[in-house]
């Protein structure tokens, strides 16, 4: 008896094709090349788990604009980059990748409508924290273009910290949670007395977060080891270097604390509020404040080395290269400052205010402005 054609099979094949096309349309962020991990990458907020915002490169001046990429909507505050791709999120619920060499689109990952995503890179994957409207923590494989795992998260206003195969996220729900990178399982959780807006900082086995009540906490395996109160809400993520925690507060004071004990080593008062994370440059620590000023202090003593004044609020983290400090301001300028004396070397005026932290990769400087632009300079 002749076997009749399998209608179900044809029907299923059509459906599968359509379904695959749909899937491809939804999850269209896919790298065609294997990411090579190395030193030259900016894989998470602050570049390293300690948020040093430092690269070992020297930048040549004058810089010229390599490309300018128009995005679909306003760009979020953080970029990450590795190899030939820079990743950013836009406020229409997308995570996008653009080729650094050309400025062309690589792909887009659509989140749910109105969701905001912050993320970090780990082993060919993006770890994404989805905020608002069904918040979630997700690990997304960039080559396969698929979600490896996803769990229910809370609302986090900051980026995740990834180190030693662990993910650390501080939540508005007054929690700091550690997850396993491999499968997203919770490793431990610590209750915080107040919500947190900061990205956790790795400090020699402890995780440091700042809270809305203005207190810095060092947490180890779910236990608070020490706390340090400041006079205002903490919005800037801390920096850890050589056993010292550096953190600025909205009380306008920049603090240096012993990473082990949380005791204050020194503090420095500005005339504004501090919202941004610092950068390390040699013996110095550099940070910006709302009083228009970029401060360079001696790391050990807290004594001022130099200051630079912009025309408006310093609105991004500074980024330290060997021969220049890059920082953005609400006056629409990205500045390059001489780390030796605080003088301006170069600047660029964008279309809108600079609200996206600049990053440096392979001697290229990438940053965003609020008029839906990503810039690449070299």
């Amino acid at each position: 008896m002749e076997k009749k054609p399998n209608k179900i099979t044809r029907y299923t094949a059509c459906n599968l094709l359509v379904f695959s096309l749909i899937l491809m349309a939804c999850a269209s962020l896919k790298l065609k090349w294997q990411p090579e991990t190395g030193f030259d990458e900016w894989r998470q907020f602050g570049k390293t788990p300690q948020h040093t915002n430092t690269v070992n490169d020297s930048i040549q001046f004058p810089m010229t604009k390599k490309w300018e990429h128009k995005t679909s909507l306003a760009v979020g505050p953080s970029l990450i980059a590795f190899n030939d791709a820079v990743f950013f999120h836009t406020y229409d619920g997308k995570i996008k990748a653009v080729a650094i060499s050309s400025g062309k689109d690589i792909g887009t990952l659509k989140l749910k409508k109105k969701q905001v995503g912050t993320f970090a890179f780990a082993d060919s994957t993006l770890v994404i924290v989805r905020r608002q409207w069904q918040p979630a923590l997700e690990r997304y494989h960039l080559q396969r273009g698929e979600t490896m795992w996803k769990n229910n998260g809370g609302n986090s206003f900051a980026e995740p910290l990834i180190t030693n195969d662990r993910i650390y996220v501080a939540y508005q729900q007054k929690k700091l949670i550690c997850y396993k990178l491999e499968n997203g399982e919770m490793d431990w959780s610590a209750d915080l007395p107040s919500p947190s807006h900061t990205t956790p900082t790795w400090a020699n086995g402890k995780v440091v977060v700042g809270t809305n009540q203005g207190t810095l906490y060092a947490v180890q395996k779910g236990n608070i080891k020490w706390s340090f109160p400041t006079g205002g809400a903490l919005r800037a993520s801390a920096t850890c270097f050589n056993g010292t925690i550096f953190a600025g507060s909205t009380d306008g004071i920049f603090y240096a604390l012993n990473a082990e004990t949380g005791k204050k080593i020194w503090s420095f008062k500005t005339k504004g509020k501090i919202y941004q994370t610092a950068a390390i440059h040699g013996q110095n620590i550099i940070f910006g404040a709302t009083d228009h000023t970029l401060y360079c202090l001696n790391r050990r003593t807290g004594k001022p080395v130099w200051t630079f004044t912009a025309s408006s609020v310093i609105s991004t983290n500074p980024v330290s290269a060997r021969n220049a400090i890059f920082v953005g301001s609400l006056d629409k300028n990205l500045y390059a400052i001489d780390p030796a004396n605080g003088k301006k070397i170069w600047s660029f005026t964008a279309e809108g205010r600079i609200r996206t932290h600049p990053i440096i990769l392979n001697r290229k400087v990438l940053f965003g402005s609020e008029e839906e632009r990503i810039y690449c300079f070299e």
Partner: protein
């Protein structure tokens, strides 16, 4: 009056399009430009400051503070403003009321505003630098919050977002400009203790009210103190999350309104209820003399053994000066109006919350009033009840708080000059001279004469703490000319007043967090030991011989103490959200002896601070203002109708920064077929000049198309020509308008194919008066009328020649505070060749009849309506929420009238009952029921038994204000 509407309606009137709608708008009070300011611009780093030369110094002070505030707010908001911000300064509130930056009449209670269209901040100084700074900072907070809000919504491309709620916007502006002060404390204490505080979930019910401002400030203060200042910024930054701010609040705070309200209100109760242990309600410890409305600024008068209190009150809605016998009974004795305010140019405003009044023992009352372009000082005979004297002073724009010298020959007052300086002056009646005691930018106010005539005490910010905006008391020695401290500290002292025997100096102070009455007196034991003269009327809290005592310990606030002959004190206090007048007897025995003396003894004033000034980029001269124009309104519209066809057009309005010069453009096409396209272009261009007292409008237009009305049926008409109009306000209440319109008219009636051409010249002259006081749905007091004469003549072909008469008189008889009998007498007549018909009928005039279904070249109407409260509050609760309506008013009416051409054969009428409800603050919905009737013999309209009444009830629903 909205000038934009005036121009457009003029054009429409002349094209016969919306004659009836004009009746809703052709009244209105006037914004009188008494002054033609020579505007200059001072450019600073972030601002363009508009000022006039007389106030140059003040502008520089404002400029310095504006730049300082900009830096402060830039850090506070973590945000900046990318455009230059226009600041428009006025030296006095009277000048501020002349501004054309907004079309509305500005009430005296408005301290300044931020206008969204051009992003302008408009602020008056009015003599007080601290208040000027407060308002400037308040408005700049609006600039920043508006910019940040706009940025956040743009980042998320949310174009239709309603934005931040008003309570938050105003609460933030108030909290971040002054944080918290005794006035805010007073309102919230009272609201909590008297149990009328609105929780956040119900704050929409008091939207736009002063209480909403203060509650917003209090709620944000609570959030900032408990959760941190950054939480307030977070609420703005999360605005994109949802259109409903309640949800944004919940996501940001981690709790909804209901949970927050529990926490907040509990906190307030915990804070304020314990005060009752050591503080009093004014009602409980003093005799309450007034009960209804706002009653303030008392002064004492005795005649023929009867004591009186003379005071200011707005109990009827108008602010008047009242006199009332002082009788201690539960029922308030009847207060009599001495001087009626807010209805005439003479008594335009008594500066209700700012200026005191003073009665001399001889029976003369001194008070001030805005009268035209400047204030006048009035002396009023309290016995004969008539004005005795009027005085105005060159270069003094405003006069506040006159006070008699003991001998009645001099009057001291606080005068506000054209430059914005507020100083103490003395007017001498004997030689009609004016002497200036102080001359600086410090705010000197509320002078008071000592019983021996030697000293004048006053309140001022000139002291060492004035830089932090504190007002202390000072004393001017008329013999030596010296000014000395009476009080000195980080508190606000005001309204000093001597007792008749000179033993006490009472004043109001917030030094214990609420305004209370304090008393200074001689510590006779000490002074006699040291050989000091115990009879001296000189007081100083800084003198160890003088004792300072707190007389009242109210939970809320007490102000403006005034002594009676017997040593009692009159004052006004705040409770249950109103100000009432009280009397406290036997003050001397009530003063508890608790010395508060500062060891510092200053004999001379030490002004340790001065105002910082900023000259601007262009140096001392500034730049002379030249008008530059921006687009204010741009709207387009396309309509399609199976009968009327398609029409589309655009409307633009451009004005200069000061709103003095306005251009309007209208362009549309109403062609029904392609052939008609070029012939059916309609445009109008007009220019309005509001810079001077006489307002001008000029324009030209072309209108062509098919039209329809019930009189002409279908017709086609092309009209093109030009017009000019002027408007001259005599005062805020009366004006004269004149217009000339010259146009070519080519008209063809379709029903009889008649076509005529004409060169029409129309002249109109109108006299308008409006003193009406408005309630929620329409006027409730006063009167308004419009008398218009006109003529339209065809000067080329004699095809048209008719005269026009319009008389529209409306009077509102106040039967009680909430009940009004409104009367309208209205006639419109066009008489002559091709006289244009008028239309009537509908909810706006002859009720019960179809809208505009009665027409004729003449019409007349008489309306009587009784307006009364119907439902004060109406709440319906559903499982998913609730709906609340308030201020539903009722009406009973009788309308009689008709429209005719040659003979009035019968009158039509209607009578019935209606309800009106104001929706959304600007739209009034009307529903009427009644019966129609006909009067067949108009000459015997008084014979009600001859009326032919319809058998059926009519129901009519429409919108629009009461007439």
């Amino acid at each position: 009056m909205n000038r934009f509407l005036l121009v457009i309606l003029f054009v429409c009137l002349l094209t016969g399009m919306v004659q009836q709608a004009q009746a809703q708008y052709y009244f209105g009070r006037n914004k009188v430009q008494y002054n033609h300011f020579e505007w200059h611009i001072l450019e600073t780093e972030h601002f363009d400051i508009y000022y006039y030369p007389q106030m140059r110094e003040l502008a520089e002070i404002g400029a310095a503070y504006a730049e300082k505030t900009y830096l402060y707010l830039e850090s506070k908001f973590n945000h900046n403003i990318l455009r230059r911000v226009p600041l428009i300064f006025y030296a006095t509130h009277a000048h501020f009321q002349e501004t054309n930056t907004i079309p509305y009449i500005i009430p005296e209670g408005v301290g300044g505003f931020f206008e969204f269209l051009k992003g302008r901040v408009v602020v008056p100084a009015n003599g007080s630098i601290p208040q000027f700074k407060h308002v400037l900072r308040h408005e700049l907070i609006h600039v920043f919050s508006h910019s940040l809000e706009h940025r956040i919504l743009k980042d998320h491309r949310l174009l239709n977002h309603p934005g931040l709620p008003l309570w938050f916007v105003e609460g933030l502006a108030e909290y971040w400009s002054i944080e918290w002060d005794a006035r805010a404390e007073m309102f919230i204490r009272d609201a909590t203790l008297s149990n009328y505080l609105y929780p956040l979930q119900n704050i929409y019910q008091i939207n736009g009210s002063f209480l909403m401002y203060k509650e917003g400030q209090a709620a944000l203060r609570f959030i900032a103190e408990k959760y941190g200042d950054e939480k307030l910024l977070e609420l703005i930054q999360n605005l994109w999350i949802d259109k409903r701010f309640a949800l944004v609040f919940e996501k940001t705070m981690g709790m909804d309104y209901k949970e927050f309200d529990k926490e907040w209100i509990y906190h307030l109760k915990k804070e304020y209820f314990p005060l009752l242990e050591n503080h009093d309600s004014p009602k409980q410890v003093a005799d309450q003399l007034t009960h209804k409305g706002i009653n303030i600024k008392p002064t004492y008068f005795k005649h023929d053994e009867q004591e009186y209190v003379v005071f200011l009150s707005n109990r009827t809605g108008y602010a008047n000066i009242y006199i009332e016998p002082i009788k201690k009974s539960k029922k308030e004795p009847k207060a009599e109006i001495l001087v009626a305010g807010e209805r005439s140019i003479e008594f335009e405003s008594f500066h209700l919350l700012q200026s005191k009044i003073d009665a001399h023992s001889q029976g003369t009352l001194a008070f001030t009033s805005k009268s035209g372009d400047q204030d006048k000082l009035y002396l009023y005979d309290l016995i004969n009840r008539e004005i005795m004297e009027r005085h105005e002073f060159d270069n003094l724009v405003s006069i506040y708080s006159p006070t008699w010298s003991p001998d009645g020959n001099k009057i001291a007052f606080s005068g506000l000059a054209f430059s914005g300086k507020s100083d103490i002056y003395i007017y001498n009646r004997n030689n009609d001279s004016l002497m200036r005691l102080t001359d600086d930018y410090f705010d000197d106010k509320e002078p008071s004469w000592s019983p021996d005539g030697r000293y004048i005490a006053f309140s001022s910010d000139r002291g060492v703490f004035g830089e932090k905006t504190y007002y202390n008391l000072f004393i001017h020695d008329t013999e030596t000319g010296l000014v000395r401290y009476v009080t000195n500290g980080k508190f606000n002292d005001s309204a000093p007043t001597w007792s008749p025997d000179g033993r006490f100096l009472a004043f109001s102070s917030d030094r214990d967090d609420a305004f209370n009455i304090w008393v200074l007196h001689h510590n006779h034991e000490n002074s006699s030991k040291e050989g000091k003269n115990p009879g001296s009327t000189f007081f100083s809290a800084l003198n160890r011989n003088h004792a300072l005592k707190q007389l009242t310990h109210f939970t809320t606030g007490a102000f403006d103490p005034e002594w009676t002959k017997d040593g009692d004190l009159l004052f006004y206090a705040f409770e249950d959200f109103s100000f009432q007048i009280y009397q406290l007897d036997s003050v001397a025995s009530k003063v508890r002896f608790k010395n508060e003396v500062d060891s510092l003894d200053q004999r001379h004033i030490a002004m340790d601070w001065s105002f910082k000034r900023l000259k601007g980029k262009n140096g001392a001269q500034g730049i002379k203002y030249k008008p530059k124009y921006d687009l204010d309104i741009a709207q387009s519209q396309i309509t399609q109708d199976p009968i009327f066809g398609t029409s589309g057009g655009v409307q633009l309005a451009v004005t200069d920064m000061l709103g003095n010069y306005q251009y309007f453009f209208l362009l549309y096409n109403n062609a029904r077929t392609r052939d008609e396209f070029l012939d059916s272009f309609n445009f109008a261009v007009s220019r309005v000049d509001l810079s001077r007292r006489t307002n001008f409008a000029l324009g030209f237009y072309h209108f062509a198309g098919r039209y329809y009305n019930r009189y002409d049926y279908w017709f086609w008409e092309r009209r093109y020509g030009g017009f000019g109009a002027i408007s001259y306000p005599f005062s805020k209440f009366k004006r004269l308008e004149a217009s000339l319109n010259v146009r070519h008219s080519d008209k063809e009636w379709f029903y009889d194919n008649y076509r005529r051409r004409a060169l029409l010249v129309s002249n109109f002259l109108s006299y308008i008066k409006d003193t009406s006081l408005w309630g929620p749905t329409g006027p409730i007091d006063g009167e308004r009328f419009n008398i218009t004469l006109g003529n339209t003549l065809d000067i080329a072909h004699s095809n048209v020649n008719f005269s026009t008469l319009i008389v529209d008189y409306r009077r509102y008889f106040r039967l009680s505070n909430r009940i009004t009998h409104a009367v309208r007498l209205w006639t419109q007549m066009n008489h002559g060749k091709e006289a244009t018909p008028f239309f009537m009928g509908g909810s706006w005039d002859l009720r019960g009849y179809r809208l505009w279904h009665l027409w004729g070249t003449k019409l007349a109407l008489m309306s009587n309506e009784l307006r009364f409260p119907f439902i004060d509050r109406f709440i319906v609760n559903f499982p998913f929420g609730g709906l609340g309506l308030s201020a539903i008013r009722g009406a009973m009416f009788v309308d009689v009238g008709n429209a005719w051409d040659d003979h009035l054969d019968y009158l039509l009428g209607s009578t019935g009952f209606g309800v009106r409800f104001r929706f959304g603050g600007f739209l009034v919905l009307r529903l009427d029921w009644g019966r129609k009737f006909t009067i067949h013999n108009p000459k015997r309209f008084y014979r009600v038994d001859k009326y032919d009444v319809d058998n059926e009830w009519f129901t009519q629903f429409f919108f629009g204000w009461d007439f």
